[in-house]
């Protein structure tokens, strides 16, 4: 989406592709935050 509208986003954002936002579990988000991520965006 950001690409098609030529939007910029910080290089420190790391996308992970999932099949559907329904697949995101709290444990995955907690793991990311636990490992030092500042936040998690669930976008879809």
């Amino acid at each position: 989406m950001a690409g098609t509208i030529r939007a910029q986003y910080p290089a420190t954002i790391r996308p992970i592709r999932i099949n559907c936002t329904g697949r995101v579990t709290p444990s995955l988000m907690m793991r990311a935050i636990g490992k030092g991520a500042n936040g998690v965006i669930v976008a879809g």
Partner: protein, 445 residues
Amino acid sequence: MLQAARTPNLNLYTYSNVEDVSGFIGNFNVKIRKKAKYVKSDCNGCGACFEVCPSYGYDEFNEGMNTRKAIYVSFAQAVPSKAQIDMSRCIKCGLCEKACEVNAIDFNQEDEIIEIKVGTIIVATGWDEYEPETGYLGYNVYPNVITQMKLERLLAPNGPTVGHLARPSDGKTPKRILFIQCVGSRDLNKQTYCSAGVCCMISIKNTKLIKQHYPDADISVAYMDIRAAGKDYEEYYTASRKEGIRYVRTNISKINEDPETHNLKVIMQNTLSSSGLKEIEFDLVVLSCAMMPAKGVEKIGKLLKLENSQDGFFKEFHSRLNPIDTKIPGIVLAGVAQGPKSISESISQGRAAASSVSRIMGKDKYRIMLIRATVDKEKCAKCGLCELNCPYNAISLKPDGADVDEILCRGCGSCLSNCPSEAITLRYYREPQYESQIDAILEEI
């Protein structure tokens, strides 16, 4: 329709409702309620019963501008051309029974529920005209404010006036006619969409038709923008303007009625000139209303688990790249069920829908992706949360644990993120894969 009725292996279920749909692509089970017509299929449509029937009422086909009997054929070209009885009006006098030569009347008929197996489903539920709320632009309050649909019936050779234009208040031929465009559409408080230029083209068509029959008619069209996009449409619009039809870019402020003559005094301002507000008198006002999803279509949407777009029409797979299929394999859309469109576009989409399903039906195999949920039955606590959360109804709770139907499942993963015992996994998208991705990304920091 007549051609469809004559095609072998094509079964038409008219005057019927879909009650239930289950199964998946290639194996849909559809329950159809064939509503009781109280007339057996022996009826030959002779019409002897209509003549004797003493019960009159509103004729839906002619927008209530004339009457029909309790026993009727909905309109002259209806397929099949067989009578039916409207039990809300029938007084059970039995006169039709005596008049019928083929003994087709059966007052004891009951609704029949049949079950059929189909491979694919095409949803072509069509549309209904937007009905403005009472009082909006004088609709339902002033008799000479009518909708485009009523005008169509008035101009139709088989309509209530046999094609003569007559205004509802006194039956006289109106001289000064105003068409108002975009009623209920392109309006942030009503429907925000444009009905694909259909109402513009209908207005242009009707102005030309009226002018042809009544050359001295003084016709104006109050428009926001004329959307004549399509082959030969712009030329048609130009031709209508050349015939002397006045197109005024305006917003209608108010419509008042002269209580004696029932003429309408329209207060409007030409927004392309600086002439200010003007009051102009008309004999007839026609509202060009928006196209809406057909009434009662929500029920079909629920049965088939279809998504709706913001405008209420059924959502397609992709609005530009695949406007035919839905997200559910084996269910495709045709015509206005998907969004407002003209007759030619509906035909194109109908044919596209037919080829889309024949591509599936022509083969005896159907390929699915392997990205599907799998249940570890040993871990499953049979809580049923996955069954509740599955948007595609692919999971059912069996005595030995949750069971995933691999054809219905679309691999979204809603079940596994809700599973308290972590018994469900998604093939190719397993937890450790994500965990190692997250770990690898965050190692850099």
